[in-house]
Symmetry: C2
């Protein structure tokens, strides 16, 4: 009887701690390592070798704001969730890696391929409005922008100013360019 009581208290304590840490509602496992207490966003690592590739994009004009090779990665659970429901599951983490474009003349024609990284964009799905006081959260997502000089710092300070502009053409698909992600189909 005593053991059962201790067990029950432990479970309640763990649940309460989890709520405190996540700022009110339990953090989905998929994003737990990448979101801090007040909604700060960390850049995931290891996604190339362990996550699923969703699609590739290229913006060839050097003057364009999106210049470079874009590759987008997500966890397997995100892809499975989207394939089932047609929506990104709560806690989905999307990492878009942008690399310089290198071009060579080859026997196959003038060929461009991805070179060194210039930028990462991170989007984290939030269906519960967890971080209302943090301007990097809004429109159903948390938004992150990282550069190689300091991968520990989210350079976005306000998603409405720093992120949304480039996502307007994808507003109708929950701000994500799913038409270029064959893995979701």
């Amino acid at each position: 009887m005593k053991n059962r009581a201790i067990f029950t208290i432990s479970i309640c304590f763990a649940a309460a701690l989890s709520l405190l840490v996540s700022g009110g509602s339990a953090a989905p496992e998929s994003y737990f390592p990448y979101v801090g207490e007040k909604g700060s966003i960390m850049l995931p690592s290891g996604y190339r070798a362990n996550w699923v590739h969703m699609g590739s994009w290229a913006v060839a004009e050097k003057e364009a704001p999106g210049y470079g090779f874009h590759d987008v990665y997500a966890q397997q659970s995100t892809v499975e969730g989207y394939r089932k429901t047609g929506q990104f599951p709560d806690g989905a983490v999307l990492v878009k890696e942008i690399r310089k474009v290198r071009t060579e003349e080859m026997t196959t024609g003038k060929t461009s391929y991805a070179d060194e990284i210039t930028t990462w964009f991170v989007m984290i799905k939030d269906r519960q409005g967890r971080y209302k006081d943090n301007p990097n959260w809004g429109n159903g997502w948390g938004w992150g922008l990282f550069e190689p000089d300091d991968t520990g710092k989210n350079l976005s300070t306000d998603h409405a100013k720093d992120c949304i502009g480039c996502h307007i053409p994808a507003k109708s698909t929950d701000w994500v360019y799913v038409r270029g992600y064959p893995t979701l189909k």
Copy 2:
């Protein structure tokens, strides 16, 4: 004692069967489902959701033989093996998917992304010269070419005629364009 004898015979039988099926030497687990008895090559499926993405390429000129968006996938064991040794392990399977390029004017600039599939290329690493009588095997690899109309048929009949030409710029890196595969680094 009798049980042990039956066990030993079973193991020997299984080993002999494996040798027969693979044409002389045991087939690596990584390619077993994709190579038939005489070296016929099958197109893997499920690589987008389950394998690792190695890199992206784009050939923008419509007249070029390599026209399209190229994305290359391999199993996780291949990436781990290459990172350790700098070489593709015996049995490595590479799938290159080629898709049409779709281009749109967006707020990020003129943007190109991968559309429907036109071709798959498959390469399977063979360090033992297993299929000497099959002209789709040579230069250390098995070579496959597939199109959406009949994904069950390898359209390459002789790798020296149908495949090697486009790989000459990558001869020094075991015929693979590793310089465009950031995941291997």
